[in-house]
């Protein structure tokens, strides 16, 4: 008989649960978000120091902060994803070329998004971010 292997649906959900609600107690879960500026290209090799090869913002409302909401979400199968929602409000004029989502320890970038066109924010403008980190992308 042929050997077969599969990750299970409940397994995907368990991984998402652990990553969404700090199950490991070690600060590895999804937690922080930061705005990026300057030339930005998303890359698998990105590090916390310069996600997307861009500069992490530290002012004008886009500095590193805890995301408003982090929770489990169903996309392909039940509870297979971590959903991150955050609203930035610009407190100064700022060009924003993307965002990066980091762990609770703020030393690893989970995912980054570099916009095709940078957003030239003015005071009072808001950017609402909705991001999924999906552990199972197809049925």
């Amino acid at each position: 008989m042929t050997q077969t292997e599969k990750p299970t649906r409940l397994g995907f959900a368990e991984v998402a649960k652990r990553m969404a609600i700090a199950g490991d107690g070690g600060g590895s879960c999804f937690k922080s978000i930061v705005g990026l500026t300057g030339a930005c290209t998303a890359s698998e090799d990105s590090t916390f120091a310069n996600p997307g090869g861009a500069t992490k913002l530290a002012a004008n409302g886009f500095a590193l902060q805890n995301a408003d909401t982090v929770y489990q979400h169903s996309v392909t199968v039940t509870n297979d994803s971590v959903e991150i929602i955050h609203i930035f409000t610009a407190t100064g004029t700022q060009s924003v070329s993307g965002f990066a989502i980091e762990n609770d320890d703020d030393d690893v970038v989970f995912m980054e998004c570099c916009f095709a066109t940078a957003i030239p924010c003015q005071v009072g403008d808001t950017i609402s971010i909705l991001a999924y980190y999906q552990f199972k992308t197809s049925a």
Binding site: P7, I127, Y133, S138
Partner: protein
């Protein structure tokens, strides 16, 4: 011994970003701070209510086509077509975001702010890109190749 170690879909990410001004879409008055944490609504003193700021543009994720799983000519041809469609749809969204930001205080077609409806096919992507370049087509919401409203 052969093994079946398919993951049935690996990790994936999806992003969406709504860029809104700090002004009320009804009265154009300046909005106060957010109603409460986790809520995008803000208070408008003139309208005496919580509203969303005026939408300037929405950025969306376009998923790239799946690479071909076979070496047949038909598979490669299909992938090439999907890749061209993906490139043209991306080009459309890049240009519409820039257009919407450049015209943040002007009345433009809502589809350029929301990104919806987005072109789905190669033919639709070609039409959408040409229309976005044509000021008259944008103004009268007319398809430049079909001369009809779309």
């Amino acid at each position: 011994m052969s093994q079946n170690n398919s993951l049935n879909g690996a990790l994936g990410v999806y992003w969406e970003a709504d860029y809104r001004s700090g002004r009320c879409p009804q009265c154009n008055g300046l909005l106060d701070q957010v109603e409460k944490e986790h809520s995008p609504s803000r208070f408008c003193k003139k309208c005496s209510g919580y509203v969303l700021g005026e939408l300037i543009v929405k950025q969306i994720t376009i998923k790239p086509p799946t690479p071909p799983m076979c070496a047949k000519f038909s598979c490669i041809l299909k992938y090439s077509k999907d890749l061209l469609t993906y490139t043209l749809i991306n080009l459309y969204h890049t240009k519409r975001v820039k257009y919407a930001i450049d015209n943040r205080n002007k009345k433009i077609l809502e589809r350029y702010r929301t990104g919806s409806p987005s072109p789905m096919t190669l033919w639709q992507a070609i039409h959408a890109n040409i229309k976005l370049k044509c000021p008259i087509c944008r103004k009268y919401n007319v398809d430049p190749l079909l001369f009809s409203r779309r």
